[in-house]
């Protein structure tokens, strides 16, 4: 009995860091990457539509309605119903075809980040138990996703991920800390010679963000080229100024996409997670590094999200002015 009290006292005296602010920062960064993807795909569709419209206005030739693929038939590939010119109906780009796979990887990462937050924020035993279940499932999903990309990426079988729940007589602070540690360790530990599950999934995510960024740049370059061709010196000052503004607006979006670095954002995600793992194992020595890494990741993710989601409004061009 006396030993138990001593143990409890020792656990309470440990006063583990909660890491709730840092985990929240990490989670916000993951949410921003997720938004960057979803809004980036929407902006890409808008880029393609704007470029097609400018081409139609420019050529005024043989505009067609998509018939076989989307407008008149059920469309399993989600190809939009739209007008087009040329001989072949436009199809979804490669990166658009991979959208569903991308979104499932993003969902796994979000689930994990949100589960970490749920554990650090659990206010009572019921909330804590639910959060541990959520974390166990999300770490399992992360391991499964990583193994699909690179077999052997996870050190544990997804089905075996079980982050122990409440231990009677232990303080909630300590319980939260132990579960956080177990979850972050499982997600962040690499097998010999390999990458950790979080690094494997983040790398694939980074490659997807890079592909989306490249596709948007291609569409914006084409759009800017058409707008530039429409800068006819014979236009009135007002029309010329408007077209100049339209061209500048597209170039501003292009510049933002060009400067945001998806690969660096994905690497910053892994660095922040590595720093979290290090700080959990040695808070006093590694806490400052954690703050810096989370801040860096949050900044990069927010910048990438803003760049990928940005869209140029070309009212004059759309009106054919």
């Amino acid at each position: 009995m006396r030993l138990s009290w001593l143990l409890l006292f020792a656990l309470a005296a440990c006063s583990p860091y909660s890491f709730s602010n840092e985990v929240a920062g990490f989670s916000r960064g993951v949410d921003d990457l997720s938004s960057g993807f979803t809004e980036g795909f929407a902006a890409l569709a808008a880029d393609h539509a704007a470029t097609a419209q400018l081409e139609m206005i420019e050529s005024r030739a043989n505009v067609k309605v998509k018939r076989t693929s989307s407008c008149l038939t059920p469309d399993p590939n989600a190809i939009p119903c739209e007008l087009y010119i040329g001989d072949a109906e436009p199809t979804l780009s490669k990166v658009e075809q991979l959208r569903d796979r991308t979104m499932s990887a993003v969902a796994v990462l979000r689930g994990y980040a949100h589960a970490l937050m749920a554990v650090t924020n659990a206010a009572d035993r019921a909330a804590y138990d639910a959060a541990v279940t959520q974390l166990s499932e999300s770490v399992g999903a992360l391991a499964k996703n990583a193994d699909a990309v690179a077999p052997g990426a996870s050190i544990v079988a997804p089905a075996a991920v079980n982050l122990a729940g409440w231990v009677v007589g232990t303080a909630l602070d300590q319980q939260r800390f132990e579960s956080l540690k177990a979850g972050v360790t499982a997600a962040g530990t690499a097998p010999p010679g390999g990458k950790s599950p979080i690094a494997t999934v983040a790398q694939a995510l980074g490659a997807g963000l890079f592909a989306l960024s490249q596709e948007r740049q291609t569409a914006l370059i084409a759009e800017a080229a058409i707008l530039q061709r429409r800068l006819d010196p014979s236009l009135s000052d007002s029309d010329y100024g408007q077209r100049l503004s339209d061209t500048q607006a597209v170039l501003a979006v292009l510049d933002g996409v060009r400067q945001a670095d998806p690969t660096a954002a994905a690497k910053a995600l892994v660095d922040a997670h590595d720093a979290l793992l290090a700080a959990i194992n040695d808070p006093k020595r590694s806490y400052a590094s954690l703050l810096q890494a989370v801040s860096d990741f949050a900044d990069r993710a927010a910048a990438l999200q803003a760049a990928l989601a940005a869209a140029a409004e070309l009212e004059k061009a759309k009106k054919g002015g």
């Binding site: 490669k94 990887a105 990309v149 690179a150 390999g194 490659a207 592909a211 596709e215």
Partner: protein, 113 residues
């Protein structure tokens, strides 16, 4: 280094070649050379395709270990074509060759090359 690292490194090498030629084409366009719009659009589209294909490869890593040597050979071939593209006429004359060379990356990344 893992296979995925290698794949993405080759993606970046191929992307850099295409980007350098886009910049060169843009410089010639700004000096009045005709036909550079189409060159830039073709190279940008090829760059996008490579990025998307490398992404798919990153998602399907296991099938690709054997493709790396071929991928490096294709990047070398791209470099050789790119070296010829030093004037506006040479850019126009060789852009299809560069796109064709970079297109060989795609089947390799699909595991078919």
């Amino acid at each position: 280094m893992t296979t995925t690292d290698d794949i993405l490194a080759q993606r970046d090498a191929a992307t850099a070649i295409l980007t350098a030629k886009m910049v060169a084409a843009n410089d010639f366009m700004n000096k009045g050379a005709a036909g550079m719009d189409d060159v830039i659009n073709a190279l940008a589209a090829q760059r996008s395709l490579l990025a998307a294909q490398a992404y798919e490869a990153a998602l399907d890593d296991p099938a690709l270990a054997a493709a790396l040597a071929k991928l490096k050979a294709v990047t070398k071939e791209m470099n050789e074509v790119a070296k010829k593209m030093v004037s506006a006429a040479a850019i126009i004359g060789n852009v299809n060759g560069l796109v064709a060379a970079s297109s060989k990356v795609v089947p390799v990344l699909k595991g078919l090359g």
